[in-house]
Symmetry: C2
Subunit: 218 residues, 2 copies
Amino acid sequence: MSRLRFTISMSLDGFVAGPRQSVKDPLGIGGEQLHEWVIGLAAWREAHGLTGGEVNENTRVIDEAVTNIGATIMGRNMFGGHPGSWEAREEPWNGWWGDDPPFHHPVFVLTHYARPPLAMKGGTTFHFVTGGIEEALTRAREAARGKDITLAGGASAARQYLKAGLVDEMELHVVPVLLGGGERLFEGTGTALHGLRPVRTLATREVTHLKFARPGAA
Amino acid sequence: MSRLRFTISMSLDGFVAGPRQSVKDPLGIGGEQLHEWVIGLAAWREAHGLTGGEVNENTRVIDEAVTNIGATIMGRNMFGGHPGSWEAREEPWNGWWGDDPPFHHPVFVLTHYARPPLAMKGGTTFHFVTGGIEEALTRAREAARGKDITLAGGASAARQYLKAGLVDEMELHVVPVLLGGGERLFEGTGTALHGLRPVRTLATREVTHLKFARPGAA
């Protein structure tokens, strides 16, 4: 069965975005520090249609994260910023990623606003799911045709899937910075690891990767 | 110059003690999970006057932490539980550690209650410091005679020294559990790493050790 996987970068003080997130500053103040380790990598640049970049110990982690993915689920904020900012527009909002988004497979967007599917160049189609996280997962599983599903974020969507015990694999990229405030991944997510167990830790100079998986879901 | 060092175990969700800490349950609910990786180690048992125990990859971390220490600083809670619980007793409270505490050097306890020094067996003397964290550090430096000083905790004392920029070395032992509540180390500690930089990461099955140091303080 296809697994639901997600990866997220987190500061030492537990934040996945800095304070005062906005449409202009979606990562919040200082939040860009969480992603410095990844945006210079050739593996990340290639996945986003760019050339060049570095190959280092972190490359393996990105390669793993993008391998065998047949569908993506994301929260509404990740698709388009703050509540109402894209759903209510007269000109339809088609996401942050231009005409040819880097997914190249079906993407299921959690929202309260029904909207017809949106087919983009390069094989990406955005589907707008109003029936909640379980419906999105069911539809993504069907669309993934046996491959895995990646939960692209944001933190709120990730928390909902964690609390529901639906995540099969989670990788935290712990970045040695303090953001001092912002959005926490683990807030009201309880005391169990949602059925997950540590399976791999990879420490590099820039970031420590802590990978967890549900036993038997491999 | 002797350095101020501290190490602490922290959950994935950033807690260094679980919820509802009390004199009976000083680590809070679930907090004992933070220390499971250490209490079975021969290195830890030996430092506490016990025999037996395991030698594994984590041994090196404990060996480093106890090497070249000439004095200890601790907060009042670590010495004796909740406010007033030991300062106000008629029978003097001499700490949790029995007649022969495992320090074997001078220990400086931060408190608001003046009290004469308390000499125990085995070379441990507790000094009660009412002048604040800088006075405790100055006196500990003098007592350490060129060796380093360890900040034994708890989290509140550690936060005060971090915020004052007085910590020269910090090691976080990140344990793959969620406590869901309790006391955070990084709460109101700002956005800079207090002058510290990552110097070493060691990942084991049970725990990931993230070590930070002040450049030039080695």
